[in-house]
Amino acid sequence: MPSDRYGDVALEEKQRLFDEVKADSRYKTYLYGCYECGICVAACPSARFYDFSPRKITQTLAREDVELFYEQLNDDVWNCSQCFSCNRCPRQNSPGGLITIMREVAVKNGLRTTKEALAGYTRIIYKIMTTGTQVSPDMLQEDAFPDWGPQVKQVSENLDVWRRVLPPETLHTTGLSWQVEERTMHELYAIWKMTGTLDMIGELDEGLHDIMEEIMDDALEESGIVSE
């Protein structure tokens, strides 16, 4: 049963978001029904540590329970580990895949709970979307990873020289995981623009969007790559 936590949101809005999830072309290949066997829950790492159940999400979607769907869209989907252990479903469902779609819809519609869930994550979005590599060596800083022990400090203190004593020529980098050609990055910018991905960032974080748009527009103008 849904709680009354989102009672102030109109049913029409909840239905609109549900319809958006259902309209994704992958939806019909991720959801076939549910035996209620619980195999997905037994396999799910997040179910062990959170009040989270891939079975409940699958059943909610199968029943088209729009009220409960909206609650899960806000409160549950960011707990998923996206490991796809739940793909062992005997009904051939992909609860993890359904959650991917739900998350996409949540981002595209700028849900408040989504902004909260991704609040500490936006620097990663900036890194991957503007450089083409996700976790660069210079992100290994003691204050960001204190729980990883003193080895992180050693890496950050010796970073420049430790990157130079790597035999592969492409790895002599600190701000990128490997050397990426400028043209390659610009092609990535064009992809973000042509697929509406940059617009999605606008729903999540307007400031981040504006910074990235400026970087990308300047680069695309310079390289002459078409992005319309």
Partner: protein, 399 residues
């Protein structure tokens, strides 16, 4: 946790039952004929697997072509970023075997780590990123070899979507054409651990260290075999063909002992988003469900796996657990690093173990490596770079 009686104690199944695999009757489809058909229809160019290739058995008995050389190394963000000995070892092994390969700069991340963490992308963008990289590989004449398990799994998902969804295919094709690139689908999508499996006998022939006294536990990476499940290596000789043979097949061929443990199917706790901003979950899962169980049931010398996220979660999570007095403290690395060590690679110049968190000294000593001497050699390189006597460490220094 109480130890469990398991039907599998190593990699030989204690059962008389035999399961015959028939590729004609499996429940999932073989996409490869559809890929060639779309090629014949002019929808895309199919890049064939270059010869020589190895035929490896997959889950339902289909044989998969694994290229041995002329490979285009699709690198991994996390491996290159904070486990650089992982990719270095893959390249080093190629060089030891004398194989031609290409390490590109015209390559982006698959961006799937971000997609599975934040969903700040969409189906078309993810497919376009994949196809741009495939196009870049094709233009060099080399065949993609994917280093990251998530990239591999995600690209298999993308391939499935592009084969089945003509509208998506045309949308992505239009994007790639606007970039001035050919629209290319490789004949096979191949993970580096499949290449490791394919060359395992060649590696064993070149082994320098006796690893028969080493016990390893293997963590199979979720995105390697849980996404598009049929397209992963399963060998009837290993776990009776009931689990993927990637990693295990290589480690056993090198002569080490692979021990079993009950939570082998569990993920590592990486979580994509969690490892970066919600690590209490990652730490708990990685140590309580994986490392402690391995310690209790198998007491391994090393944990071996074949993906970026798994090495990260299982290695880095142990420090905080140790502070709580938990039963942890096992070094973690990729099987490429372990194989490189067995073939005589330098533990710091090549496998770069100083980037790992858990103490690896006892493992190296058990393998017969003089750790102090190796570290002194590495420090000497570092000093030379600092003093300007050497710009970089090069392949000539390590082969």
């Amino acid at each position: 946790m109480e130890s469990m009686e398991l039907p599998v104690n190593g990699t030989k199944v204690e059962t008389s039952r035999k399961f015959e695999r028939d590729p004609e009757t499996v429940r999932d489809e073989d996409l490869r004929e559809a890929i060639w058909e779309l090629g014949r229809e002019g929808e895309w160019i199919v890049q064939p697997v270059p010869e020589p290739y190895y035929l490896a058995p997959t889950k339902y008995g289909r044989m998969k072509k694994i290229p041995l050389e002329h490979t285009w190394h699709h690198k991994s963000c996390g491996q290159c970023g904070h486990i650089p000995g992982y990719s270095t070892s893959i390249f080093w092994l190629n060089r030891v075997l004398g194989y031609d390969y290409f390490d590109p700069r015209d390559q982006t991340s698959c961006t799937a780590w971000n997609y599975y963490a934040s969903a700040t992308s969409n189906q078309a963008a993810q497919a376009a990123v994949a196809m741009r990289n495939f196009s870049a590989a094709y233009e060099t004449g080399y065949f993609p070899l994917i280093h990251c398990g998530t990239s591999f799994g995600h690209y298999k998902e993308v391939r499935h979507e592009l084969v089945h969804d003509a509208k998506l295919r045309r949308q992505v094709r239009s994007i790639i054409e606007k970039l001035g690139r050919p629209f290319v689908m490789p004949e096979e999508i191949v993970h580096y651990s499949e290449w490791m499996y394919a060359v395992r006998e060649e590696l064993a022939k070149r082994r320098q260290l006796d690893v028969s006294g080493i016990t390893a536990t293997v963590h199979p990476a979720c995105h390697y075999y849980k996404l598009q499940t049929g397209d992963a290596i399963y060998d009837p000789e290993i776990y009776g063909g009931q689990r993927t043979a990637a990693v295990t097949g290589v480690v056993q061929t090198l002569g080490a002992h692979v021990a079993d443990y009950s939570t082998w199917y569990d993920c590592c706790g990486f979580g994509f988003r969690h490892i970066l901003v919600q690590r209490d979950f990652t730490r708990s899962f990685a140590t309580l469900r994986k490392i402690e169980v391995m310690k209790q049931e198998a007491n391994p010398d090393v944990v071996l796996t074949h993906d970026t996220g798994c090495v990260t979660s299982l290695d880095k999570s142990q420090f905080a657990a140790q502070a709580h007095g938990r039963n942890v403290g096992v070094p973690v690395m990729s099987e490429s690093q372990f194989a490189a060590l067995a073939l005589g690679a330098h533990p710091f110049r090549v496998t770069q173990l100083h980037w790992h968190a858990v103490d690896y000294r006892s493992l190296l000593e058990k393998m017969g490596i003089d750790v102090d001497r190796a570290w002194a050699e590495f420090q000497s390189d570092v000093e030379k770079v600092k003093q300007g006597e050497m710009d970089y460490l090069t392949w000539e220094h390590v082969l």
